[in-house]
């Protein structure tokens, strides 16, 4: 943990340097203009101080050249900042192919983490360094926000949808994890730590912890327990669509709209089945809202995803980098 009086946060992710660079640039611009204005005010106040009671100023009405100068220069600086900020945003937003995925569920007032290998944690997140990690996050109640200052990453965690966030830790250590969106009484207690580890130690951690079965296994069991399989059969004889190779494909809906079958689509189809019915099927499915928790939803999604070649969860339970895969559909969702 840092010293008792830090003035600057630790840099512990691949992205941190990029964010800090734009920060320092903006601090420099701010300091320059603040000192310029303050300097001019002090200088003019002294140089042009009122010397006798009835003195008046020189009537000057303005200067078009100066107006254009101080319109144009701030505009150019502002547009430069905009472009730079947008570029950094895209770098922070676009998940590299082959990122290791971890599920996160926020609820008042804790963070629940589920690894693809079945390991679960509360208010702690263990990750390997040197490897992109992507968090798929949902909320059970109100809006939370997952924030790791040392990594310079943050994303709101919103009920009813999934937001994602990715980072690549670069320095082993324990870092703050904060909830940044006010979420009620113990908002400031909704904190934890992110433990970044060398890959070998991370593997040892994975092996050492109790694993309750992978999310895919848990999802498969739920699929049976909730009797999903009675309609979603493996051949096309069922009353519901076949789920094999569904994930990541284009789905034609009633009414002619087409959507990509991503996490958000699967979730919506479970909790609100009438919203997006596949063309050629009857709206027969009952809602499972309230019958499955956010974590179980994520398990069901993992299972549906595992039925697809394109959807096999990367990095399940292993610290070794996987081959890049085409996951562009997922990155395009909100």
């Amino acid at each position: 943990m840092p010293t008792n009086f830090p003035l600057f946060p630790q840099q512990a992710s691949a992205q941190a340097g990029q964010v800090d660079a734009i920060y320092f640039f903006m601090v420099a611009v701010t300091a320059f203009f603040a000192l310029l204005i303050a300097g001019l005010i002090v200088f003019f106040s002294v140089r042009f101080r009122r010397r006798h009671r009835d003195e008046i100023g020189v009537p000057i009405h303005g200067s078009l050249a100066l107006e254009l100068l101080w319109t144009f220069v701030p505009f150019v600086i502002a547009m430069g900042m905009f472009g730079w900020g947008a570029k950094v945003f895209f770098d922070l937003y676009r998940v590299p192919a082959g990122a290791m995925e971890i599920f996160v569920v926020g609820k008042q007032w804790m963070w629940k983490v589920q690894h693809m290998g079945g390991q679960r944690e509360i208010n702690e997140l263990h990750v390997p360094i040197g490897r992109p990690v992507k968090l798929i996050m949902g909320s059970e109640d109100v809006i939370h926000s997952f924030y790791i200052p040392a990594f310079r990453v943050k994303a709101d965690v919103i009920p009813g949808r999934y937001n994602t966030l990715w980072f690549e830790a670069t320095k082993p250590g324990t870092y703050h994890l904060f909830c940044a969106e006010y979420c009620g009484t113990k908002h400031s207690g909704m904190i934890g730590s992110v433990v970044a580890m060398e890959p070998a130690q991370y593997q040892a951690w994975l092996d050492g912890g109790p694993a309750d079965g992978t999310p895919v296994d848990a999802g498969a069991k739920l699929f049976q327990d909730l009797a999903c399989h009675t309609c979603h059969q493996q051949d096309s004889q069922g009353r519901g669509p076949v789920l094999t190779n569904l994930f990541g494909s284009q789905v034609q809906l009633q009414g002619g709209r087409t959507v990509v079958a991503d996490e958000a689509y699967i979730r919506e189809s479970i909790v609100n089945p009438q919203a997006m019915v596949k063309a050629g099927f009857q709206p027969l499915m009952p809602t499972f809202q309230g019958l499955v928790t956010e974590e179980q939803l994520l398990q069901l999604i993992s299972y549906v995803r595992s039925l697809s070649d394109a959807g096999a969860a990367p990095g399940a339970g292993t610290a070794a980098p996987t081959q890049p895969q085409d996951r562009s559909t997922l990155e395009n969702k909100r």
Partner: protein, 538 residues
């Protein structure tokens, strides 16, 4: 000019003569008294927050109490102090006088707006006294509609009601500025204070209905379980954020534009010089009002908003910075070759210039999407908007109050005390809020009741600054009040400033002008008249 025996202050005595008055100047004083009371209340909540944050542990208040403190601080300061402050007090008092009118266009509606404000304020007081609200002043859903266990609806109704007072004031100003100008008072002779209020009024009447309907939807979902924002009822929680910020970002301009109007007047008066680039300042106010309506999405960069929408909001947010920059440069250029006198209003104006520059530029940090990801919802944001609202809007308000106090009260206050308090406010303000930029960048989230120990030093500095700031705010209350009873009588124009308000007695008669003035030139024209007398001085 010798003050006549009868003026607006002594023309009628007793409670009824005040509570039923239709005189814009008396209504301004009713507002002055009520917003001062709310400012004290909001300040009390702020002191509780700073007291709690002295130590990392939660040892002064419970978490429930702390959450109510910062919520009530925000609600009271934003809706009941900052938004009405300059428009309803100084604007109300000065706009008719500055344009050569005897009153606002709708004097009864003006009085009605004050009663509506008070009614809304009472609802909020009831909400506070019966246990408070814990949603934050932002009322984010679904927390506010489904989870919060506090008096959300009472407070929401209070804000809903008060919104109408703001709409009526804006409407009144717009009609007055269009229809009541004295002969010769053309648009480009208007004092810049009036231009700023014109822009502000546009935002008030176009934006406030949106917050009203949004607040109403929150109440409807909370009380009747209509599914609007709560995903469990089929709603969209992010929709609330769009609606809320559609008003609440422009609301920041409601707070800062009038302060900019004050600064334009004060800088001219204490440089004895007309403004540099009049039309650029006037039109930049309108540009801020218009572009300001299109930037709300910069509050949602980490809320999962579409990236392309984010890009548009980001570029517009950078654009809205340009008119502010234009104003700062023009004010600075106005001092050049002026006859500069560092009286207390000018000290406040200089404080405004420095703090607003920092507050504005740190806003760019938040508009830069990649950087906002890190600083969003941290103390960096808290520091930024306090530089704008306290460093900008309140400095402007205090500067204006000092500048026009001799006109309003007819008395002169103690200038040494006023200078001292201006310096104390400036020092206390920076000590309070500068450390919060650092705490925010290190990663301290806002609205935290307890916090990790490494943030303590910065928080202690901040709390120390807050107590200095409190002294700076209490002092004017004392010496301005004292001046009413024991201050020397003010002449019509104690500063040697120019403008219609300085041509009538202090305090003004009820009808402002015995004969409607005929205007032949813009305000703050110092040169021509003096040139005749003292050729070659400049």
């Amino acid at each position: 000019m010798e003050a006549p025996a009868l003026n607006y202050l002594n023309n009628g005595h007793g409670a009824a003569s005040w509570l039923l008055t239709k005189d814009h100047k008396r209504i301004a004083l009713l507002y002055l008294a009520s917003i001062t009371a709310f400012f004290a209340l909001g300040g009390f909540f702020a002191m509780m927050i700073r007291l709690e944050l002295l130590t990392p542990a939660g040892d002064v208040t419970s978490p429930e109490m702390y959450n109510r403190m910062f919520t009530m601080h925000g609600v009271v300061m934003v809706f009941f102090f900052l938004i009405p402050s300059i428009p309803a007090v100084l604007g109300n008092f000065l706009i008719p006088i500055m344009i050569g009118a005897k009153d606002l266009a709708f004097p009864r509606i003006n009085l009605l707006s004050w009663y509506i404000y008070v009614l809304g304020g009472l609802f909020t007081l009831v909400a506070a006294l019966s246990g408070g609200v814990d949603t934050g002043w932002t009322f984010y859903t679904p927390y506010s509609t489904a989870a919060a266990n506090s008096h959300v609806i009472t407070a929401a109704v209070g804000i809903f009601i008060t919104g109408f007072s703001s709409i009526l004031t804006g409407l009144n100003f717009i009609v007055t500025i269009h229809r009541m100008r004295a002969p010769g008072m053309t648009w480009f002779r208007l004092p810049l204070f009036v231009w700023a209020h014109y822009a502000t009024s546009l935002i008030m009447i176009l934006g406030t209905p949106v917050i009203a309907i949004t607040i109403l939807m929150v109440a409807a979902e909370r009380a009747l379980h209509l599914g609007i924002f709560d995903p469990a009822l089929g709603g969209d929680p992010v929709l609330f954020q769009h609606l809320f910020w559609f008003y609440s970002h422009p609301a920041v301009y409601i707070m800062i534009l009038p302060a900019m109007g004050v600064i334009s007047e004060v800088v001219q008066a204490f440089s004895r010089k007309n403004i540099f680039g009049y039309s650029f300042i006037a039109f930049s106010s309108l540009a801020i009002a218009v572009i300001g309506f299109l930037v709300w999405g910069h509050h949602l960069f980490v809320a999962g908003q579409s990236t392309y929408a984010g890009l548009v909001f980001s570029v517009l947010s950078f654009m809205v910075a340009v008119p502010s920059a234009i104003k700062v440069f023009n004010w600075t250029a106005t001092i050049y070759k002026g006859s500069v006198s560092l009286d207390s209003p000018m000290l406040y104006a200089f404080g405004f210039l420095g703090l607003f520059t920092i507050g504005g530029l740190t806003g760019l940090f938040l508009g830069a999407m990649g950087l906002d990801i890190h600083v969003h919802d941290t103390y960096f944001v808290v520091a930024h908007f306090h530089y704008i609202m306290v460093g900008g809007a309140i400095m402007g308000y205090l500067g204006g109050l000092h500048y026009w106090w001799p006109k309003i009260s007819g008395r002169l206050y103690s200038e040494p005390w006023a200078k001292l308090s201006a310096v104390i406010v400036f020092v206390g303000f920076n000590l309070t809020f500068f450390p919060q930029f650092i705490a925010g960048y290190i990663g301290m989230p806002r609205r935290y009741h307890v916090y990790p120990p490494e943030f303590q030093v910065l928080n202690v500095l901040s709390s120390a600054g807050a107590s200095v700031l409190a002294v700076g705010y209490v002092l004017p209350l004392i010496y301005l009040t004292y001046s009413i009873f024991a201050g020397a009588k003010s002449p019509a124009d104690p500063w040697g400033a120019k403008g219609l308000e300085w041509e009538i007695p202090s305090p003004p008669p009820t009808e402002n002008f015995g004969i409607t003035p005929i205007v032949t030139h813009g305000t703050h024209q110092y040169a021509p008249r003096i040139e005749k007398k003292e050729v070659g001085v400049v």
